[in-house]
């Protein structure tokens, strides 16, 4: 575990003492404390998470990166309350997570739109569960507002099959935030898109973040994506995963793609790449610093 040499605007993650188990949490909206999880499979026990720590303040956006199969998606399911950890605690807004809560929104690499519904009615889906008594017109107005925000106005009556991959992902994003969730969970949302579409989606994501503020956790394999969008990047070790490294991104507010190519950006990317190599069990690159 290498937590040394924070450079530039980077600082190390939470330096204060870890909150005591079972006590009211810190002021963080998402507070994950020393979470451990083991899957019982027919080939025996498979430890997936082994001491993951993570705090996300209200309005914060944390990217989680790590080697393939290290348990990142498992982490999202823990936050969503779809799984319970074997040890450790997940707190959300001062409440211990023990099951699914309607204050969560999720979007995945696979946009999983319902093909039999129009784009608009796909977006209103969470409202049918969270706000069943909300008048239909209000639901649709809210969905339309979001579709317009992500540049899908005029497509609301189309079927998902009539949309391109990037558009489908935009619609999926709208659906995940339509009910104004306290926490937005994105599991490699742009992973299946081509590079240009992905950069478009990053811009959209920033716009959404400023218009519809949320607290978010994003799983990604793209290091550039992580520092471009997030306030903090967490590197998980190889499986079983623990929080190996935490990096604060010094950029505030809306960002420009050019930032990625500044010395500051390059340095952050280099550091993250080193950390991923450590996580994969390989030595980081040799470089005279």
């Amino acid at each position: 575990m290498d937590k040394t040499s924070p450079a530039g605007g980077q600082t190390q993650g939470s330096e204060e003492a870890r909150p005591v188990s079972g006590q009211p949490p810190t002021d963080a909206l998402i507070d994950i404390r020393d979470v451990k999880l083991t899957y019982e499979t027919k080939d025996g026990r498979l430890p997936v998470l082994d001491g993951v720590d993570m705090q996300v303040p209200e309005g914060g956006f944390v990217a989680v990166v790590g080697p393939s199969g290290c348990g990142k998606s498992t982490l999202t399911r823990l936050i969503a309350g779809l799984l319970e950890p074997n040890a450790g605690e997940v707190w959300l807004h001062g409440e211990r997570v023990t099951g699914p809560k309607s204050s969560v929104g999720m979007a995945f690499q696979n946009p999983v739109l319902l093909e039999w519904r129009s784009v608009l009615r796909n977006v209103t889906l969470p409202l049918e569960l969270v706000a069943p008594r909300m008048p239909k017109r209000e639901k649709e107005a809210r969905a339309l507002e979001l579709l317009t925000l992500v540049g899908l106005e005029g497509f609301e009556r189309k079927r998902p099959s009539e949309l391109s991959g990037g558009m489908r992902q935009r619609a999926s994003l709208c659906r995940s935030i339509v009910h104004k969730p306290e926490v937005l969970i994105l599991d490699e949302p742009f992973g299946a898109l081509d590079a240009f579409t992905r950069e478009d989606l990053w811009q959209t994501m920033q716009k959404v973040k400023s218009e519809e503020p949320f607290t978010g956790v994003m799983i990604t394999h793209d290091l550039r994506e992580s520092i471009f969008l997030a306030d903090q990047v967490i590197v998980l070790s190889g499986r079983p995963a623990f929080t190996q490294y935490t990096m604060d991104v010094p950029w505030k507010g809306e960002r420009d793609l050019g930032l990625l190519y500044t010395p500051e950006g390059t340095e952050m990317l280099g550091e993250l790449r080193d950390q991923i190599q450590i996580a994969q069990g390989r030595a980081p690159r040799e470089e005279g610093e």
Binding site: V104, F108, L114, E115, W116, L125, R159, R175, I185
Partner: protein, 252 residues
């Protein structure tokens, strides 16, 4: 003229002409092989029986099919949502489906002697529920976990997830199976109608034609059956368009 309506009509006319030609070239008498030109008089002679028995065959088939849908969907749900039940029931169903239904017909006919309607519906059901059960179970068990998660994360119940996502998502597979089932149910109905003495339905009319060596009548029944089969099939196609039309991609 709409070509999509016109083309099948031409195909039917060409088929009838070929049939007529084969009979004519071989100089077969109509007690050996009836020709299309013999059918008109046969239909006219037995027109009231055709209407009455045609209705019998139709409603029995539809009743058997409805039973198939109810039981097939239920079995499909049980197998699609529960791994253990799938492992347990699958071999049994496959074995049952492998039994030629013609062998089951006399068993049922002797079990409930004289209950023509029930026997016929029962066979139509037995022969046609399998594809529905299998397709629904496959549709449900192959639901991507993310579909479940988007609703489960909001605290949705299993029933809500089934109702809002799993069920509609399975509809294309269901209708595919229903198209197979509709033809099978039809075969089942007629098997029973032919075998049962003193019965009703087009199958019985066929049997009467056989006993009285009325070949034109037998062929007329076959054509009537074909027509009913086409009708039922396209009713399913229309239902599919209405309920699962979204699965059809427009050619681009």
């Amino acid at each position: 003229m709409n070509w999509r309506l016109f083309a099948p009509v031409i195909a039917i006319i060409v088929f009838a002409l070929l049939w007529e030609a084969v009979v004519w070239v071989n100089d077969w008498p109509n007690y050996k092989m009836a020709s299309p030109s013999d059918l008109g008089p046969a239909f006219w002679k037995f027109r009231w029986l055709f209407l009455e028995y045609g209705w019998d065959t139709l409603w029995r088939t539809v009743a058997g099919l409805l039973l198939s849908v109810a039981v097939g969907v239920l079995l499909g749900m049980i197998m699609g949502l529960n791994r253990t039940m799938r492992d347990a029931l699958y071999p049994l169903l496959v074995g049952f489906n492998a039994i030629p239904k013609a062998t089951v017909v006399p068993i049922i006919a002797l079990l409930f002697v004289g209950a023509h309607d029930m026997n016929t519906i029962l066979i139509a059901f037995l022969i046609s529920f399998f594809p529905i059960a299998v397709s629904v179970s496959i549709g449900l068990s192959t639901l991507e976990p993310e579909y479940r998660d988007i609703l489960a994360a909001l605290g949705a119940s299993r029933f809500t997830i089934f109702w809002k996502i799993a069920l509609p998502k399975t509809l294309p597979e269901f209708f595919g199976a229903l198209k197979v089932a509709v033809t099978l149910a039809f075969i089942g109905t007629n098997l029973m109608e032919i075998v049962e003495p003193h019965g009703r339905g087009l199958g019985h009319l066929f049997d009467s034609g056989k006993i009285s060596a009325d070949y034109p009548l037998m062929f007329a029944v076959l054509i009537a059956l074909a027509a009913l089969g086409i009708l039922l099939f396209y009713v399913v196609v229309v239902l599919e368009r209405i309920f699962a039309g979204w699965a059809e991609r427009s050619p681009t």
